[in-house]
Every structure is written in structure tokens, then in C-alpha cells.
Symmetry: C2
Subunit: 160 residues, 2 copies
């Protein structure tokens, strides 16, 4: 199809929506990165910290799974967060191979500040939208997390 604007007749709505969400996500993140740049907390670190604050302590592997990255990537993110005093790494008393990563009080506090700073400009723009549009975006954020988030790994042992 060499005619991009030719409104593909039987093209799937889902496929086009996926492509547009992809594009919107790229531009959204670039926008937020430009706005921030002063919080000292990059997006991946903020995101990982957020999981720990709102979801409680996790092993490195579980955190990597929740964040959709490989363990070595998470090792580095956690190292940076630990160096900044935002998380701690404890030995897992039940498994000598594993570590338990926990947000510190400083981490909890910085999360709010950092997140607010990063999203403040976007929030201002969203606040200018009609309430109806804002509701659509809120609903969409929910739906997206549901679609994108991997199902929690089945508990391998008695970790309930």
C-alpha cells in the first residue's frame, strides 16, 4: 500500500489503535523527559521505585518481571536507587540466592516529589481539558496497564 492516506478499507481498528498508542507513548515520554531533567530521578528509576512504594518489597526478579525488563537491567536500576538511599537490599531469610528490595522513607518521599515534578506540566495540560476527555484518559490508563502488565507469576513456594 503506497498510499498512506488512503484509509485502508478492511484494516483492523485494533491494529490502527495499537499503532497510534505506540506513537502517543513515545511522544509522551519524550515530552516528560524534557520537562523533568532536574528531579535527578530518571523514568525507569521512578517507575521501579513506584512499584516498590505502592506494591511493597519485592525480589529483584519479581521487580524485573513487573517492570518488563531483564534481571541485569534491574540490577543496575536498583544499584542506582540504593546508591541514592531510596531503596535497601536485604538478604531473603528463606532463600540465600534472592534479595529483598524495599523502598526507604526517603524513597517514598522522593517518589511523590519526583513524580509530581515530572508530570506537573502534563497535569497542567490535562487539567485544561474538558472533564469528559480527562475521564477518557484516566480510563485509558487503566485499560493500558491491564493489557500491558504481565499476569503475576504463580507463587513458586509458600510466599503468600
Amino acid at each position: 500500500m503506497s498510499e498512506p492516506g488512503a484509509s485502508p478499507p478492511s484494516d483492523d481498528l485494533a491494529a490502527r489503535t495499537a499503532a497510534r498508542l505506540h506513537s502517543a507513548a513515545i511522544h509522551l515520554l519524550r515530552r516528560l523527559r524534557r520537562e523533568d531533567n532536574a528531579s535527578g530521578l530518571t523514568a525507569p528509576r521512578l517507575s521501579a521505585l513506584s512499584v516498590l512504594v505502592f506494591g511493597g518489597p519485592l525480589s529483584l526478579g519479581a521487580l524485573a518481571g513487573a517492570e518488563q525488563v531483564r534481571p541485569p537491567t534491574m540490577t543496575r536500576l536498583v544499584a542506582a536507587l540504593e546508591w541514592d538511599g531510596l531503596v535497601t537490599r536485604e538478604a531473603d531469610p528463606r532463600d540465600g540466592r534472592a534479595i529483598i528490595i524495599r523502598a526507604t522513607e526517603a524513597g517514598k518521599h522522593l517518589l511523590e516529589a519526583g513524580r509530581d515534578r515530572r508530570t506537573a506540566a502534563l497535569a497542567r495540560q490535562l487539567a485544561a481539558l474538558p472533564a469528559e476527555d480527562l475521564a477518557v484518559l484516566e480510563r485509558a490508563a487503566d485499560l493500558l496497564e491491564g493489557v500491558v502488565t504481565p499476569p503475576p507469576a504463580p507463587p513458586r513456594r509458600g510466599e503468600g
Copy 2:
């Protein structure tokens, strides 16, 4: 506010929505990157190519502006796309400093294939959603692009 889970009473809905969109965007992009990894076209290249295909030829600076990156970043993206034969760089006849970047036919074709490949898994999941939810996401993609996209730079000269 030091109690993250304390459901801040007067907190702004816009602020919370912004934070959740941020999180959803991060996870969406990581998910898509995992799915892809075979198209040979990374997300930033795909995105830049998309702007050129659907929006027509642009100068490097304009493309960088549209994509919310700095010129040196776009220089490198364009170099990679050119090396792959997906775009061309011509001299601007009206301004010897500028270049005009244009998608090739190969670029137009690969855009569709690459985008489809990258978003296919997501599209499949979206297709499984209720029509109502899909409509919400489509609308959200629209709204987000509108909020996030910078207003087109005022035409500095006769470039209409």
C-alpha cells in the same frame, strides 16, 4: 503528604492521571520492544519514519521538533534510516544550510510492515477487548497526541 497509599483527598485528578499515563507509557513501550526485536526498525526510527511518511518531507530541525528530540539525536536517527535506504537527504534549494529529508518508497513500505510487526501482539490483545474499551483507547490516543505534540513552529519564511 507522606502517606502514599492514603488516597489524597483533595489531590488533583489531573495529576494522578498524568502519573498513571506516564507509568502506562513506560510499560507499553517496554512491552512493544520485547515483542519486536526482529523488525530491524527501532521505535525512535519507526516513529521518525512515520512522521515523514504521513506528514511529507521535512527539514532535520522540523523533524526533530516534531519528534521532541534535539537536532543531534535526529541527525543520528536520519543517518541510520538513510543507511538503510528508507529516507533520502536532499539539499534545500532555498537554504544551503538546511536539508530536506524524504521517505523513500522502500521506507513507506517498510513502515507498514515494521509497525504492524511491532504492534501486532498489542493489536491482538486490543482486539479481544470490548468494543467500548477499544473506543476509549482510540480516543485517548487522539487526545494524547493533541496534548503532547508541540504546536507547529510558526513558518519562519515562505514555507507554506
